[in-house]
C-alpha cells in the first residue's frame, strides 16, 4: 500500500480548472519533489492532499484513509499529515515552545511534560533547542521555517508535505532549511516537496514530478527528469530555472 494514492484528482476554481486529472502514488519512505512553472497547479495539488483545498473530483488516500470520503474524520486524518507552508504560518502569539506544543496538547491530549519533551526533542532535531522561549517575530525566516517543521514533526506525522518551503527565504538562509529536510529524508520520512530548488531535488529526491497546466507531464528519477527530460515543456522550464539569464524573449510564454 502506498503512503499517498491520488486518483483522477481534479480541482476547479469557478470556471478555471487548476488540476485536470492527476494520478500519483507516493511510496512509504519516498521523497517526491514536484516542480513546474507557477500556475501549474503544484501547490493546489499539495493542498488537496490534506484537504486544505476541497478536490472537485477524484480520490486522495493517505496512509490507507480515503480523505475524499465524505464520512471521513478529516481532523484525525490531518494529524497524520504534516504540512509546511511557504510563509511559515507560525502562531505569533505563542512562544516557540508554545507553537510546537499547542496541537500536541489540544489535539493529541498529551500532558504538559510529555508535550514539552517531544517539542524540545524536535527543536533539537532542527537545531533550535536554544530558542524555546523566543517569540516567532524575533527569529529569522530560516529559523521560523525550522520551527514550523518541528511543529509538524511533533505530531508524529506519517507523511510530510512542503509547499515551497524556501521560496520566502533570503538566499543565505535556504541552506539551513534544506539541511533539515535532507536529514528528514535520510531518516526515511515520506515527503512530498513542491520546490524550485533543483539541486535539492536532484540530490535528495527519489523521484521528480514535473507538472504543467494542471497535469503531470512527466516523472521519474531526478537524474533522468532534470538532466535528460523527454518533453519539450520540461526542457523549456528547466532551461529557464537552471539558467534564468539565458531565456530568450521568444521562449517566454508569459
Amino acid at each position: 500500500m502506498s503512503a499517498i494514492e491520488i486518483r483522477g484528482l481534479r480541482k476547479t476554481f469557478g470556471t478555471l480548472e487548476v488540476l485536470s486529472g492527476i494520478d500519483l502514488d507516493v511510496e512509504s519512505g519516498e521523497v517526491v519533489c514536484v516542480i513546474g512553472p507557477s500556475g501549474s497547479g503544484k501547490s493546489t495539488l499539495l493542498r488537496c492532499v490534506n484537504l486544505l483545498e476541497e478536490p472537485s473530483g477524484g480520490t486522495v488516500t493517505v496512509d490507507g484513509v480515503e480523505l475524499t470520503d465524505p464520512d471521513v474524520d478529516i481532523d484525525a486524518a490531518r494529524r497524520r499529515i504534516g504540512m509546511v507552508f511557504q510563509s511559515f504560518n507560525l502562531f505569533p502569539h505563542l512562544t516557540v515552545l508554545g507553537n510546537v506544543t499547542v496541537a500536541q496538547r489540544k489535539v493529541l491530549k498529551r500532558d504538559k511534560a510529555e508535550a514539552e519533551r517531544v517539542a524540545r526533542a524536535n527543536l533539537e532535531r532542527v537545531g533550535l533547542a536554544d530558542k524555546v522561549d523566543s517569540y516567532p517575530e524575533k527569529l529569522s525566516g530560516g529559523q521560523q521555517q525550522r520551527v514550523a517543521i518541528a511543529r509538524a514533526l511533533a505530531m508524529d506525522p506519517r507523511v510530510m508535505l512542503f509547499d515551497e518551503p524556501t521560496s520566502a527565504l533570503d538566499p543565505e538562509l535556504v541552506g539551513d532549511v534544506l539541511g533539515v529536510m535532507r536529514g528528514l529524508a535520510d531518516e526515511g520520512m515520506t515527503m512530498v516537496v513542491v520546490t524550485h530548488e533543483m539541486s535539492f531535488a536532484r540530490e535528495v529526491a527519489d523521484r521528480v514530478v514535473f507538472m504543467d497546466g494542471g497535469v503531470v507531464v512527466e516523472q521519474g528519477a531526478p537524474d533522468r527528469v532534470i538532466a535528460n527530460p523527454e518533453h519539450e515543456r520540461t526542457r523549456t522550464f528547466l532551461a529557464r530555472v537552471l539558467d534564468p539569464a539565458a531565456a530568450r524573449v521568444g521562449e517566454v510564454d508569459g
Binding site: R78, F91, V102
Partner: protein, 254 residues
C-alpha cells in the same frame, strides 16, 4: 496677529470675572456642604451601581458580540443573515429606546416575568443588547485581520474548526481589538446612566439618577457636578489607557 487673539481672550476673562455672580455660582454649583453631604453614598451607591451596570452589560455585550461576529463570518447563510440584521437594527436604534423596551415593554408584554437579578438584570440586558451590536463589528474586523494562513496551519495540525478558532484565531483577534473595546467600555460607562429609565429603587440608583435626585431634593446643582466628576474619574483614565494601548500596538506592528 497672535497678540490680537490673546487680547480677545483677556477681554473675555475680564468680562466673565467682572460680571459673574460669584456668590450665586458658589452656592448653587460648588456648594461645599452639599458636596460633603453626598459622601460616602455617591460612591458606595451611585458609583458602585454604575460600575455594576457597566461591567455586567459589557460582559454580556462581549459574549454576544463575539457570537455575532462568528455568525457574521460563518459559511451558514441564515447565521450571516441573523447577525447582519441584528447589527443593523441595534446600531440603528437609540439606546434609550432599548432601555425603555427592556424596562417597560417587556414587563407589559409578559406580565409577571422578571429577568434574573431584577433591575440589575434589566440594565445588564439593555446595555448588553446595544453594545453587542457595536462590539460584533469591532470583533469581526479583528477576526478578519488574522491572516488565513493561521487557521490553515492550525487545521493542518489536526485542530477542528472550532478549536482553531478558539486557540489560534480568537486570541490573536482580541489583541487587535483591545483598544477599541476599551473605548466601547467608556461609552458603556456613560450609557449606563440610561438605567434611570428602568425605574430603580433607592439602593439601585447609579450616578446620574443619584445626582439628579439629590439635586432636586436639595434645590442645588452641586450633586450633578459631583456625579459628573465621578464619571470623569473613570472615563478619562480609561480613554487614556485605550490611546496608550493603541499607540503601543501601532509601534508593535511597525
Amino acid at each position: 496677529m497672535l497678540g490680537g487673539e490673546y487680547g480677545i481672550f483677556v477681554a473675555a476673562v475680564v468680562l466673565v470675572v467682572a460680571l459673574a455672580d460669584w456668590h450665586s455660582l458658589h452656592v448653587n454649583f460648588f456648594n461645599w456642604s452639599v458636596a460633603k453631604g453626598l459622601f460616602p453614598d455617591i460612591i458606595t451607591v451611585g458609583l458602585r451601581n454604575t460600575v455594576i451596570y457597566t461591567v455586567t452589560g459589557f460582559a454580556l455585550g462581549l459574549v454576544g458580540g463575539l457570537l455575532l461576529a462568528l455568525m457574521r463570518l460563518s459559511s451558514v447563510l441564515p447565521y450571516r443573515w441573523f447577525a447582519m440584521a441584528y447589527i443593523e437594527v441595534f446600531r440603528g436604534l437609540p439606546a434609550l429606546l432599548i432601555f425603555i423596551f427592556v424596562g417597560t415593554g417587556i414587563p407589559l408584554a409578559f406580565p409577571g416575568t422578571e429577568l434574573p437579578g431584577g433591575v440589575y438584570g434589566q440594565a445588564a440586558a439593555a446595555l448588553g443588547l446595544v453594545s453587542a451590536a457595536y462590539m460584533a463589528e469591532t470583533i469581526r474586523a479583528g477576526l478578519e485581520a488574522v491572516p488565513p494562513g493561521q487557521a490553515e496551519a492550525a487545521r493542518s495540525l489536526g485542530m477542528s474548526r472550532f478549536r482553531a478558532m478558539r486557540t489560534i484565531v480568537v486570541p490573536q483577534a482580541f489583541r487587535v481589538v483591545i483598544p477599541p473595546l476599551t473605548n466601547e467600555l467608556v461609552l458603556l460607562f456613560k450609557d449606563s446612566s440610561l438605567a434611570l429609565f428602568i425605574g430603580v429603587s433607592l439602593t439601585q440608583r447609579e450616578l446620574t439618577k443619584f445626582g439628579r435626585d439629590l439635586a432636586s431634593q436639595q434645590g442645588n446643582t452641586t450633586p450633578i457636578l459631583v456625579a459628573g466628576l465621578c464619571y470623569l474619574l473613570i472615563t478619562i483614565p480609561l480613554g487614556y489607557l485605550a490611546r496608550r494601548l493603541e499607540a503601543r500596538q501601532k509601534r508593535g506592528r511597525r
